[in-house]
């Protein structure tokens, strides 16, 4: 039976509601829309970024023997304003404060570090705890007022006293002015010293300690902008080989680059593209083939790409086609015209692996999200909704009816709410705990066996 230790078989066992964060009101303020979700390396911390430039970090509570049902709930640990809206006067360009991506650094000491980015600027934040404070200063009072030095007649040694835990976030580095176009990805290297940032046309390599210099490693800007045919949509470093990274394009291709081969990686080492049947080409072909997310498997052997209608798993050793293709919502193929008119066809869905790479997950519309088990080939559609939000309630699989006769409990394609899109999901690195962002709400689900 599935559900082995290490997070196996995502679609085989049952998922239960655990928690939901965020307001219930119908009127969603644009600033509250969640734009990124990311677990840290241990899964103890879960970070979200929103359109208002704010970051909220949740921490998993320690398992409590006196409250066996708390089962490691996530509660607010820290929140801060990461980015502010800006106006570039030279270019007449409005710079949104929306957090496009958050990536955690591996933990090296007591503090936690993460990178957060908007369209133009990447920031390194340090999140540290303070649970002690010094009391008994000589030169100032307990409330901080300076004491009159002439009144001091004796010296004392300040002592450390415990205080209520305070979590502080401070910006340690600001990596600015390196991107002409809009940043879509950041990725921390396995060397833990460098990271890359990618915009529509260029990819830069940074050292985490150095903010006034970055190396350009990919530049696909044509000499004549009229000749522009594709843009970079996502980029990621290989999880183990610090010289390897991939980037995906709006034309549905992925290029793997090796930084050892040359300083400027305009020429790829590998080129991944699935051959297309030319007779099936339509106006929509290129748009729906645009890759919105690319993620290496934890093993580093595979990578996964998400385009508008499907998720594909690629073996890094095979460039001419993916090894697995999963249909997310094929029924939308006959709705492409209206999806183009309401711009939904440009929605950028993300995808993620579970800890053991045996399952993958991605979002869809109507607050549905999909999970695929790579071993059993079974898939499941679940919904993030307030209706199924009772503690430990098992999520019921959902089904979209494509044909004429709609069975009970099925929902027809025309009834789907295209404003309820799940673009961002995250899977705990080792356990079967998932975080699903539904507009302004964050849902946390766990498997029943946990």
């Amino acid at each position: 039976m599935a559900g082995a230790a290490g997070g196996g078989g995502g679609a085989d066992f049952q998922w239960c509601f655990s928690q939901v964060k965020g307001a219930i009101d119908e009127d969603v303020a644009e600033a509250d829309i969640i734009s990124t979700v990311e677990f840290n390396y241990t899964g103890d911390l879960l970070a979200t970024g929103d359109k208002g430039g704010r970051v909220v970090i949740f921490q998993r509570e320690q398992e409590n023997k006196s409250r066996p049902h708390s089962r490691g709930e996530y509660n607010v640990y820290s929140t801060f304003q990461s980015h502010e809206p800006e106006f570039d006067y030279l270019k007449s360009l409005e710079i949104e404060e929306k957090i496009n991506k958050i990536r955690w650094l591996p933990q090296q000491n007591a503090a936690h570090f993460l990178l957060s980015t908007n369209d133009k600027t990447i920031k390194l934040w340090k999140i540290s705890e303070r649970d002690k404070r010094a009391e008994g200063y000589n030169l100032k009072d307990e409330d901080g007022r300076l004491r009159d030095p002439f009144r001091i007649t004796a010296l004392r040694v300040p002592i450390l006293k415990p205080m209520d835990l305070m979590v502080e976030a401070s910006p340690r580095r600001i990596f600015a002015n390196a991107h002409t176009y809009h940043i879509n990805s950041i990725s921390v290297n396995s060397d833990h010293e460098t990271y890359l940032s990618a915009d529509d046309l260029r990819i830069n390599l940074w050292h985490l300690e150095i903010t006034d210099r970055s190396f350009n490693i990919v530049d696909i800007k044509p000499a004549n902008m009229e000749e522009l045919t594709e843009v970079i949509t996502a980029a990621e470093f290989h999880p183990h080989h610090c010289n390897v990274f991939v980037y995906s394009s709006s034309k549905g291709t992925i290029r793997l680059c090796d930084m050892r081969s040359s300083a400027l990686c305009d020429r790829h080492s590998k080129f991944f593209e699935e051959p297309e049947d030319p007779s099936s080409r339509s106006f929509f072909s290129e748009i729906i083939s645009s890759i919105s997310d690319v993620k290496f498997s934890h093993s580093g052997r595979y990578m996964m790409t998400r385009d508008y209608l499907s998720v594909k798993v690629w073996d890094l050793n095979m460039e001419n086609r993916p090894v697995e293709t999963y249909q997310v919502h094929e029924y939308l193929r006959s709705k492409l015209c209206s999806l183009y008119e309401n711009d939904c066809i440009f929605d950028k869905f993300e995808c993620c692996w579970n800890g053991s790479d045996s399952a993958i997950m991605t979002g869809s519309y109507n607050n549905f999200f999909r999970m695929f088990d790579r071993n059993t080939r079974r898939d499941i559609t679940l919904e993030a909704s307030r209706e199924s939000s009772k503690p430990r309630a098992i999520l019921k699989p959902r089904k979209v009816c494509t044909g004429g006769k709609r069975k009970k409990d099925e929902i027809s394609v025309d009834s789907l709410d295209f404003n309820k899109k799940i673009l961002h999901t995250a899977w705990h690195p080792t356990e079967n705990i998932i975080a699903v962002a539904a507009t302004n709400n964050l849902y946390i689900f766990q498997d029943k066996m946990n």
Binding site: A23, D32, T79, F87, S92, E94, L228, I287
Partner: protein, 112 residues
């Protein structure tokens, strides 16, 4: 279960069946072309990409702004209606017209 076994379709009948099955994507394409006959010759090509690269572009003419500031000392100039988002064209933009982007002073409701 039918008592008779169906006759194998002839080659001609098969081709006729294939022609009738048009991909749903092509049906959608036909719908789009019918509604927007002038839609670009290069689908998903340069126009669409260039629009993507220009996201966030606002238009502000410093010359207009300074002229307006100078004139405002004497009289009130026509300013944009409050709900106008594009500050271009038929009136002189002033700093008050540019849509104010207030930073989020309110804490996130996820932390509430």
């Amino acid at each position: 279960m039918s008592a008779e076994s169906p006759e194998p379709a002839s080659a001609e009948e098969q081709k006729e069946m294939e022609d009738k099955v048009i991909s749903p994507e092509k049906v959608e394409e036909a719908k789009l072309k019918a509604r927007y006959p002038h839609l670009g010759q290069k689908p998903g090509g340069s126009d669409f990409l260039r629009k993507r690269l220009q996201k966030g572009q606002k238009y502000f003419d410093s010359g207009d702004y300074n002229m307006a500031k100078a004139k405002m000392k004497n009289k009130q100039l026509p300013t944009a209606t409050p709900d106008k988002t594009e500050v271009t064209g038929d009136h002189i933009p002033t700093p008050q017209d540019l849509p104010q982007r207030k930073p989020s002073l309110v804490a996130s409701k996820l932390a509430g």
